[in-house]
């Protein structure tokens, strides 16, 4: 009587596999002068935050090319965060505002492409605001978890290879 037992076993195991909680992958951009140092300060202050975010350092948040963000989404990020100096103490005086303009434009275009605004986040952090940096990371990760993954019909990654179409039967050639 082994046969009947297999069924419950397999079905009992099934939920365990699907029960994995969604852990978003998030790409974060910092400027060299304020927000990256805020991240450093969060570290030196040992303030904990979720490990979903991976950071890239730019010299200035105004260096941000929208292509970087799209590349992030294309390569599997569930959300992207832009951070930088408070406009009033931007190391490059007024460049942090350029980042704001691109952010608003891009967020609108992304939502027109089906990517929720909440997946493109943005905040300021001065070099003294390690706590703020960690708090924002925690907040954003929670928000993105609530959103869930980006549906595959919205994002195609470069890895995506088209399914080679099933070759259709070739008519046998006969002499005319």
């Amino acid at each position: 009587m082994t046969a009947p037992m297999t069924t419950p076993q397999t079905s009992a195991m099934a939920p365990a596999v699907t029960a994995q909680p969604f852990e978003p992958l998030i790409l974060g951009f910092t400027c060299n002068w304020c927000s990256y140092r805020a991240a450093d300060l969060a570290g030196t202050s040992r303030i904990k935050y979720p490990d979903n975010v991976r950071l890239i350092r730019l010299m200035c948040s105004g260096r941000m090319e929208p292509e970087f963000i799209l590349e992030g989404f294309a390569k599997g990020a569930d959300a992207v965060i832009m951070t930088g100096c408070w406009p009033e103490d931007c190391h490059y005086r007024i460049q942090s505002v350029k980042a704001l303009r691109r952010f608003l434009f891009l967020r609108r275009m992304l939502s027109d492409l089906g990517i929720e605004p909440a997946r493109l986040q943005r905040f300021y952090a001065s070099a003294a605001e390690g706590k703020r940096f960690a708090d924002e990371m925690t907040r954003i990760v929670a928000e993105v978890k609530a959103l869930g993954p980006i549906p595959p019909e919205i994002r195609v990654t470069l890895a995506a290879e088209p399914a080679a179409p099933a070759p259709v039967a070739e008519p046998v050639e006969v002499e005319a």
Binding site: R63, K75, R93, E129
Partner: protein, 679 residues
């Protein structure tokens, strides 16, 4: 193109990293999984930054012929230079080495070792992908102008000025008040030694005023800073004194004759009077007086001119206006000081409402022999000596409603005040404190001394200061002040009747601190204290090359540390001057004029005026001398004609790919989708 030979080095940082990241796993993973990206050697080491760790890298560069180096350790702001130097020692261009942070960004902020290790792998991958796109760069060299601008003539600035001037280099001090000296000049005694502030300060003021290498710009403000590292162009506004400095002898007849009495809210903190034309205090440097038009009868009514009539050298000039002077400097020191916390902001303490509530600054002037009361400690009426005095600590400090930080000096100044009250009067003194903070040489000894002098110490934050009596036992105390405080040691609520309350006010940034920070391009906290390049290892440098800071502009501190700040800044500046030139990160934007379409999108984007348009050739040019490397124009160029060295498009795209290449999609879910799949 085949991937460049790359070495990967994972630092344990003692256990700072290895406790939360499985460094061996990361090391092996890098060699196994990043081989196709060029990784030929991967090592871990307890302290990569140690000389032995660096030798490890240098050895590999030579043995394996490494073309790239990636170190996974602390923040680049900590050790980027270290590993770049190690690489160049071994003959590898320093900009082909990349330091990625798996400490500040991983081990110190995460709690799940397995996940932290995964993230560390991704960060290493990001570095490896990125560094493959790097190209050899040479640092940009800029000559350093040997002149120095010091903003603020307080004790920190003066100290630095004298050190630099003595070394033989020109210094400009810009002070917005009529005299240098800063807050210290207002103090009576200085803790813990109780020597008189004036006696130790004025000689320095005189030296500074007299020194041939020091140019004083008092009653002046910096209005513009331009140029770049090594050679800043400074524009200073000299506000009109209405006194011709060249002729003035500082004889003082003008302010004797001036009929207008003005409450001196500046130097005398509102306790005393000055004239419409005045010097803030007898030992002021420079000696020339200042006339304030708002107070002057002549400016109001067009008559009087007493000062002019009596001036023996005819140096009064009512026609003076703002004057602007410009000069270039190679270094800038911001010693802009602090402002005392405004006690009015805590209404329950009644300052401004209850006459006999005083602030520390008022008390300093009151107890000063040269002050408005001639050193007598009396109530507002100017005659009555207090029988009981309460001193309240942490006013505007360690308080969520005002400032969360500790102002560092209040405890000691309060102890000093307690001592002075006991010395000048027979009054009982109550010190209401939260914690007694007496770090520093001789400080705690002074605390004990004041204890022995019989001052009563009450541990507890004062809740309220009032003149309304609520309880029968308070009868007979009419007209006195009640200090309500919970004695947390005795565990009782106390209402203490006193005649005088002294609020030990804290230290706050100058009101215009953030504007000043912006003008000089340095970062400051949201409160306004300037941020050090590194709080511990580089405490007087800012994040802007060539701009330094000292004293309370950086945060609360006492006179000794302000002075050592000033000296430290002087030493740093002198070493730059001695080097004659400085090396800057070669991060610059450049235009490929073949690709430039002349669309002029970028033309208005540069705050440093590095971008110009060639009308003839219809192309845009970028001046590398002015470019600061922010990259805004690179990101804006729709023709892809502008590229940025050091942070190029390809480098960042590669790092993104690397960071996201592992473990693939979020929660490892396959990101592939059969696009070609038919609906």
């Amino acid at each position: 193109m085949t991937a460049p030979k790359t070495g990967v080095y994972i630092c344990h940082c003692g256990t700072n990293i290895s406790a939360m990241v499985d460094v061996e796993a990361v090391r092996d993973w890098a060699l196994d999984e990043l081989g196709d990206k060029g990784v030929v050697v991967s090592r871990d080491y307890p302290f990569m930054c140690s000389s032995l760790g660096q030798e490890l890298i240098e050895k590999d560069i030579k043995e394996y012929g490494l073309e790239r180096v990636v170190v996974g350790a602390c923040s680049p702001h900590m050790h980027e230079k270290t590993f770049r130097e190690a690489s160049s020692n071994a003959g590898l261009n320093p900009y082909l080495a990349e330091l990625v942070s798996i400490r500040e960004q991983v081990s110190w902020v995460h709690t799940d070792k397995a996940k932290a290790t995964e993230k560390a792998k991704a960060i290493i991958a990001g570095g490896v992908y990125r560094v493959a796109e790097h190209e050899p760069l040479e640092p940009l060299i800029a000559p350093v102008n040997n002149a120095t601008l010091i903003v603020g003539g307080g004790i920190a600035g003066l100290t630095a000025a004298l050190e630099i001037a003595k070394a033989g280099y020109p210094v400009h001090i810009v002070e917005r008040e009529p005299s240098i000296g800063g807050h210290m000049a207002q103090y009576d005694k200085t803790f813990p030694t109780l020597d008189c502030a004036a006696c130790i300060l004025t000689p320095k003021m005189v030296d500074a005023g007299a020194h041939k290498n020091i140019t004083l710009h008092t009653w002046s403000e910096v209005v513009d800073v331009s140029g770049s590292v090594g050679d800043f162009k400074i524009k200073v506004k000299h506000k009109p004194r209405y006194v011709v400095e060249a002729d003035c002898t500082g004889c003082g007849i003008c302010w004797e004759k001036c009929p207008v009495q003005v409450i001196d809210t500046g130097f005398e903190s509102g306790l005393g009077y000055r004239k419409a034309i005045y010097t803030p205090f007898p030992q002021a440097v420079p000696k020339y007086p200042v006339l304030t038009p708002d107070d002057c009868t002549y400016f109001a009514k067009g008559t009087c001119r007493a000062c002019e009539k009596f001036c023996p050298v005819d140096c009064i000039d009512f026609t003076q206006t703002d004057e602007f002077v410009e000069f270039n400097v190679g270094s800038i020191l911001l010693a802009t000081g602090f402002q005392p916390f405004d006690a009015r902001r805590i209404e329950s303490y009644g300052y401004g409402r209850l006459p006999n509530v005083f602030t520390s600054m008022e008390f300093e002037r009151m107890s000063n022999a040269a002050g408005p009361t001639g050193g007598k400690i009396v109530l507002r009426d100017g005659v009555t000596e207090p029988k009981a005095v309460a001193i309240v600590h942490c006013v505007g400090s360690r308080d969520k409603n005002t400032n969360e930080y500790c102002s560092a000096v209040c405890c000691m100044q309060s102890l000093k005040f307690a001592h002075l009250v006991r010395e000048h009067t027979k009054a009982d003194v109550y010190e209401c404190y939260i914690d007694m903070r007496t770090p520093g040489k001789g400080y705690d000894e002074f605390y004990n001394r004041v204890l022995e002098e019989g001052t009563q110490f009450i541990r507890g934050r004062v809740a309220e200061i009032t003149d309304s009596l609520r309880y029968p036992e308070e009868e007979g105390h009419e007209g006195r002040l009640i200090v309500q405080v919970e004695d947390t040691l005795a565990g009782v609520k106390r209402r203490i009747p006193v005649d005088m309350v002294m609020l030990s006010t804290g230290i706050e940034p100058q009101a215009d601190a953030t504007e000043v920070a912006r003008m000089f391009g340095v970062g400051c906290s949201s409160k306004g204290f300037i941020i050090e390049r590194h709080a511990k290892l580089d405490p007087v440098a800012t994040m802007t090359d060539g701009v330094f800071a000292a004293g309370t502009a950086l945060g609360p501190r006492d006179i000794p540390s302000s002075v050592s700040n000033g000296a430290a800044a002087a030493a740093t500046i002198l070493s730059r001057i001695a080097q004659g030139e400085i090396a800057m990160e070669p991060y610059r934007a450049s235009v490929d004029t073949e690709r430039c379409s002349g669309c002029r999108i970028c033309n208005d984007l540069c705050p440093f005026s590095a971008i110009t348009f060639d009308e003839m050739a219809m192309v845009t040019n970028i001046n590398p001398k002015l470019c600061q490397g922010c990259g805004v124009c690179v990101a804006a160029c729709p023709a892809n004609a502008i590229s940025g060295s050091g942070f190029s498009h390809h480098q960042i795209m590669a790092q993104i790919d690397g960071l996201l290449s592992y473990p693939g999609g979020s929660d490892g879910r396959p990101v592939e989708e059969a696009v070609g799949a038919t609906a």
